[in-house]
């Protein structure tokens, strides 16, 4: 248990339960249907699936943005139900989130300094001087110039904005990062650089990643283990080489076969 | 579709219930003793007490409400003390006149607004757009009662083309032609503001829709511009404009208050203004409730039309 950064058991999330105004039963969607998973400390676990597979709902539950309908979650060994009772700060200190659309994840009307200061102040309780120093360090870590601080999000490209968003996630000094399609909104050359950055940061700060993605090639490049999701369930879970070399599940095989390849099969 | 309409009809019951509560509460906020207003100089303490008992005003508010609403449901809105006749009779008689005026104005403003808006959008920045934009801007910036006065001055007093006031001529008349002649000025005045609002919204909606991807698809298919605009763009824009027409029905019904006063149209608006100044509370209560309920029905109709046009909402 202590070796696991995240451990979930029988996690389920349903939407649309209850009855409508006229008493008719509503359509219930099981977005996540009894999932058990573990993210080991220091590893990158990829959760792969297509739209509607429930992978994003899973990710949102792991940081407390969504409440599970049933099941257990332990984050850094602590019970998530207890964390939730203590409010969002308790979550924010141990697990952080990187969003798919970097531009949408930064408030257009606040400077980068405003955005980065919040976790330093509210989660870590640093004073103004320490905050200033930390912000410079963080921007340096994500290869952004120091004059970034006084600028607004729209002044940056998608790739730069994602670096800033990663810096914000790091500012919380949490050891676990949930990466929700962190590169799928970016152009390929930018995507490669961000993946490289994520790999370096992981080594440097000893992080654990849970990577949500639909792109098998990206997953193969940076993860240690893979879980394949279909309709709210995990259909296959194995180390990365194994999944790609010997996929067990029919759906996994279909996914791999569907991915476009650069060279016609030789 | 009919199931949907039935569902929507059922859903207005709580709205009507809420309306009645608001009307009741607003009227019960009236300071001073209604009995004194009714009795005037006959307001001896004994008389006041008797009236209060007769009207049920000595009971708690909640009980008063249920007595009132119970009577209303049975068609008993009480008696107007100033006119000394049942409120419902007076209200329905007046409401008929208002419906004629507001109905004609609503049709007028919808047709004019939609046409002006589409022309304005399609000919953006052309002379027609500029002229329409100017007229619309002037129209929505003008007090309607003032416009009414000016129209009376011009058309009735100076040029003697149209009657200045009333619904029918006092001597003779009384036929449809007479009614229409009397309608022209008040209905146009009432329609001006609403037409302006609808025209602006139609223009904006058309311009927005014309930029959308499915319009480009229609063009890529090789459809002539006329079809692109009317079959594709206008259809989609209309869905956004119809709820606005529903809201405008409210402005037209409300605006009738001014117009009826200016043109001495024997409608419910003029009646309300008089009833307020004579503190004829039951008459005000009944009138407001009937007009507001009809407004709810108007909006329901707009909703249903919108749903018929847009398959996405039907689900």
């Amino acid at each position: 248990m202590t070796d696991n950064a995240i451990q979930v058991r029988e996690l389920t999330k349903t939407f649309g339960e209850g009855r409508s105004f006229l008493g008719r039963e509503r359509h219930v969607v099981r977005a996540v249907d009894g999932i058990s998973l573990a993210l080991r400390s220091g590893e990158t676990l990829a959760v792969v699936g297509e739209s509607g597979s429930g992978k994003s709902t899973l990710a949102r539950m792991l940081v407390g943005l969504e409440e599970p309908t049933s099941g257990e979650m332990f984050i850094a060994g602590r019970d998530a139900a207890g964390l939730r009772r203590r409010g969002p700060r308790a979550f924010g200190k141990i697990v952080q989130y990187v969003f798919q659309d970097p531009v949408a994840s930064l408030n257009p009307r606040r400077t980068i300094q405003d955005i980065l200061e919040v976790p330093l102040k509210l989660l870590n309780g640093y004073d103004a001087g320490r905050r200033r120093a930390r912000m410079t360090e963080l921007l340096d870590a994500v290869h952004m110039p120091a004059d970034t601080l006084n600028r607004y999000p729209h002044e940056f490209s998608g790739g730069q904005a994602q670096r800033i968003a990663i810096a914000r996630a790091l500012a919380a000094e949490a050891q676990i990062l949930i990466l929700d399609e962190p590169v799928s909104a970016l152009d390929v050359s930018v995507q490669a650089q961000v993946l490289l950055l994520l790999q370096d940061l992981k080594r440097r700060f000893g992080l654990s990643y849970l990577l949500i993605s639909h792109d098998l090639a990206v997953v193969e490049a940076i993860s240690d283990r893979v879980a394949v999701m279909l309709l709210g369930k995990v259909v296959e879970e194995a180390p990365v080489q194994e999944v790609f070399a010997r996929p067990q599940n029919a759906y996994t095989r279909q996914l791999i076969a569907s991915a476009p390849k650069l060279r016609a099969s030789e | 579709m009919s199931a949907y309409i039935l569902k929507r009809l059922l859903s207005i019951i709580p709205v009507l219930f809420g309306l009645s509560i608001i009307v009741f509460l607003v009227m019960s906020m009236i300071p001073g003793d209604p009995a004194i207003a009714i009795l005037g100089s006959y307001a001896t303490p004994e008389n006041v007490e008797r009236i209060n008992r007769d009207l049920g005003l000595d009971k708690p508010l909640v009980q008063q409400y249920f007595i009132w609403i119970g009577n209303v449901v049975q068609g008993d809105f009480g008696r107007s003390f100033a006119l000394n006749r049942p409120v419902l009779d007076e209200v329905l008689e007046r409401f008929r006149a208002t419906l004629i005026l507001a109905g004609v104005a609503l049709v007028l403003c919808s047709v004019m607004g939609l046409i002006a808006g589409v022309i304005s959008a399609v000919r953006q920045f052309g002379w027609a757009d500029k002229a329409i934009t100017f007229v619309v801007l002037a129209g929505i910036s003008m007090p309607s009662f003032w416009l009414g006065l000016i129209l009376i001055l011009l058309f009735a007093v100076r040029w003697r083309l149209l009657p200045a006031s009333g619904m029918y001529a006092i001597y003779g008349g009384g036929d449809l032609k007479d009614l229409l002649l009397h309608l022209i000025l008040p209905a146009s005045t009432l329609a001006v503001v609403a037409a302006g609002v609808i025209a602006r919204l139609t223009r904006a909606a058309m311009l927005e829709v014309l930029r959308q991807d499915f319009v480009r698809t229609a063009r890529a298919k090789g459809l002539p511009e006329r079809q692109v605009i009317y079959r594709h763009a206008f259809r989609a824009a209309l869905v956004g404009v119809i709820p606005v027409i529903g809201i405008q029905a409210g402005f037209v019904l409300g605006g009738a208050v001014y117009i009826e006063t200016v043109f001495q149209w024997p409608g419910i608006g003029a009646m309300l203004v008089k009833a307020i100044s004579t503190r004829d509370i039951l008459l005000v209560q009944g009138g407001v409730l009937i007009v507001a309920s009809s407004h709810v029905l108007f909006n329901l109709a707009a909703d249903v039309v919108q749903t018929m046009l847009d398959p996405r909402i039907r689900a």
Binding site: E50, G64, L65, G87, P88, G92, A104, P108, V118, L122, H154, E155, A172, V188, S189, A192, L196, H214, L216, A217, A221, L255, S258, A259, P260, K261, R263 | P14, V15, G18, V26, M27, P143, W146, L149, I152, L153, L207, R211, D213, F214, R216, T217, A218, A220, K221, G222, P224, R235, A236, V239, A249, V252, G254, V257, L272, I276, V284, V291, P311
Partner: protein, 598 residues
């Protein structure tokens, strides 16, 4: 990818916030409104200091003097009071009440909207039902009822008008807040440790503020009109106090003998309200980013072609489609900037050419320029010739160009949900594609359309034809898009990122379908994409675009295996590929390390 994004994000925000005033003043009408309004407000504020007679001093001997009479510039009213003086003091009252009502309604309505939109769920439901209830009353009627209850008087009129306008603020603000409360930056702020109150005030409110300001500027005019209206009916200002409405009401009795008594205050109301409305429109245009980026310009039926474009000769007469030296750009705020610079491409009959590039490379603009589908304004084809079977497309008259669209060159677009008309059945949309170019009776039309839908792999096509786009899955919708493109057996199909919005398994099916159709019908395909994997699957040749220029063209396998241009090399190196595992990062690292060396 849309034209708007590919033409590069227009910098907005801080710099433009500073120049918001500038923008407002650039709008001539708004500037006039601002000047007029300032003047009126100034006069109203200075009323006590101006050399005006007492507005309430009656002088029966001098009653109903005409305009421009001695000592009374605007004449006198029925009691001999000076109209100019009463007008000035009355405007003061009317504006004060109107603006105060606006502020009250904005404060209460916005708070309701913020709380309701942010909280969502049951709170939202309850609050909005209440607001709906207020909206259920015809606008003025509720104000009347409130005044009836509170008794006539100016303050009561103010309350009534403020209450009646609360729903407009509540609904507008709630709508925006609802969207924002699910925004990723709000989630991010929550994870950064912010509480609800702090999120509402520091994250949501700054983004809602423009909406509040816009609503204030558009409703202030109404509120002044409504205040005047209540006073006109005798329910607002009570004598001897006068606002513009009560002046009008009192003057009504003299309408036939001395019309100026009622016309003059009406003109004043009109001036105040029109200046407010014009200014409000200007403010809305400045604060609404959609309007600023020219999103509300009416696009013409074809892209504008610059009158003295350079038109290179047709270098590939055998090609079915040949693009020579195409330059397309956008005119924004009077400045032209090009999105595509000198692109030349050709497409042989039956060939599939891939056009690949990153966002902003100009690939979609190139695709849309071919048949003049770039929205104009702001798009302009500045230079170049586009030869379809040797005829220059942009020299064709409108009717000829339109008749070529769909019949000779058909398009398939990226997101089939937004590119199909949401209110027409898919069957009808396919029929329309056919009937635009072929005269068939209804029955034959239907048969053709069902056959086409069957051909692109839609099961139960006859039944499905009656469905609307939103009832289909993404893959099925794209099949409908393909069916429409096939309707007239075009020589060329331009497919603009047709699989980008789809899942990989669906993408594979659609690519398979396109390959099959191409083999079967021998049509040429111009395939726009950002994905090298997709190019490798389907294209014979590929052209790589960067910053509006084609940097390299070649047969697909050759170009992928041995790219010549530095940009292409780097781009291909950055594409992660299944089967390479973690080598990928090592390769990328070497690419960027090499790039960083001087």
């Amino acid at each position: 990818m849309t034209v708007a994004t590919s033409s590069g994000p227009t910098p907005a925000g801080s710099r433009n916030q500073v120049s918001a005033w500038r923008l407002l003043l650039n709008n001539r009408l708004a500037a006039v409104g601002l000047v007029l309004l300032s003047l009126l407000v100034l006069v109203a504020l200075l009323a006590p200091l101006l050399p005006l007679p007492d507005p309430d001093a009656t002088a029966p001997a001098e009653r109903l003097q005409p305009v421009l009479s001695q000592g009374h510039l605007l004449g006198t009213d029925q009691l001999g009071r000076d109209i100019l003086s009463r007008l000035t003091w009355g405007s003061r009252v009317s504006m004060a009440v109107g603006f105060a009502a606006t502020l009250v309604a904005a404060a209460i309505g916005s708070t309701i909207g913020l709380v309701s939109g942010y909280a969502g769920g049951r709170t939202d439901n309850l609050m909005m039902r209440g607001v709906d209830m207020l909206m259920a009353f015809p606008y003025i009627l509720l104000a009347l009822a409130i005044v009836a209850a509170l008794g006539p008087g100016l303050m009561n009129a103010l309350y009534a008008i403020a209450i009646v306008n609360i729903p407009f603020f509540a609904r507008n603000v709630r709508g925006v807040t609802l969207g924002l409360s699910h925004a990723e930056f709000v989630d991010a702020a929550r994870l950064s440790g912010k509480g609800h109150l702090s999120i509402i005030t520091t994250e949501v409110l700054p983004n809602v503020l423009p909406v509040i300001v816009i609503t204030m500027s558009t409703t202030a005019g109404w509120m002044i009109l409504e205040t005047a209206g209540l006073s006109f009916l005798g329910l607002g200002a009570q004598p001897p106090q006068a606002d513009l409405g009560s002046m009008l009401g009192e003057g009504r009795a003299q309408l036939f003998t001395a019309p100026q008594v009622s016309i003059v205050p009406g003109v004043m109301i009109f001036l105040i309200v029109i200046s407010l409305n014009v200014l409000g429109d200007g403010i809305r245009d400045v604060l609404d980013p959609r309007l600023r980026s020219g999103a509300l310009l009416r696009p013409g039926p074809r892209t504008e072609v610059h009158s003295d474009r350079a038109q290179p000769a047709n270098g590939f007469p055998s090609a079915v489609l040949n693009v020579e030296g195409l330059e397309t750009g956008f005119v924004r705020n009077g400045h032209y900037s090009s999105a595509v610079k000198a692109v030349s491409l050709h497409l042989h009959p039956g060939e599939c050419l891939g056009l690949i590039g990153e966002s902003g490379s100009g690939k979609s603009v190139t695709a849309l320029s071919i048949m003049g589908l770039v929205n104009s304004p702001p798009g302009v084809i500045r230079n170049g010739g586009i030869y379809l079977h040797g005829d220059d497309v942009h020299s064709m008259p409108d009717t000829r160009l339109i008749s070529c669209r769909g019949s000779r060159v058909a398009y398939i677009f990226q997101d089939p949900l937004t590119t199909l008309h949401p209110m027409h059945t898919i069957g009808r949309q396919v029929e329309e594609a056919i009937s635009a170019h072929q005269r068939l009776d209804r029955r034959a039309l239907q048969e053709r359309s069902v056959a086409l839908l069957e051909r692109v792999g839609i099961r139960d096509a006859r039944e499905r034809a009656k469905h609307y786009p939103h009832q289909l899955s993404g893959g099925q919708r794209q099949r409908v898009g393909i069916a429409m493109a096939l309707a007239n057996d075009p020589d060329v199909i331009v497919a603009d990122e047709p699989t980008t919005a789809l899942d990989v398994t669906v993408q594979a099916q659609i690519l398979g379908l396109l390959k099959e159709l191409r083999r079967e019908r021998g049509m040429a395909l111009l395939f726009i994409t950002h994905d090298f994997g997709v190019v490798a699957e389907i294209c014979d040749r590929v052209a790589v675009m960067k910053d509006g220029v084609v940097v390299e063209t070649g047969p697909t396998q050759e170009l992928l295996a041995d790219p010549q241009h530095d940009y292409t090399k780097r781009l291909i190196a950055c594409v992660p590929e299944i089967g390479r595992g973690s080598d990928f990062l090592a390769r990328v690292r070497s690419v960027f390390d090499a790039g960083n060396k001087p």
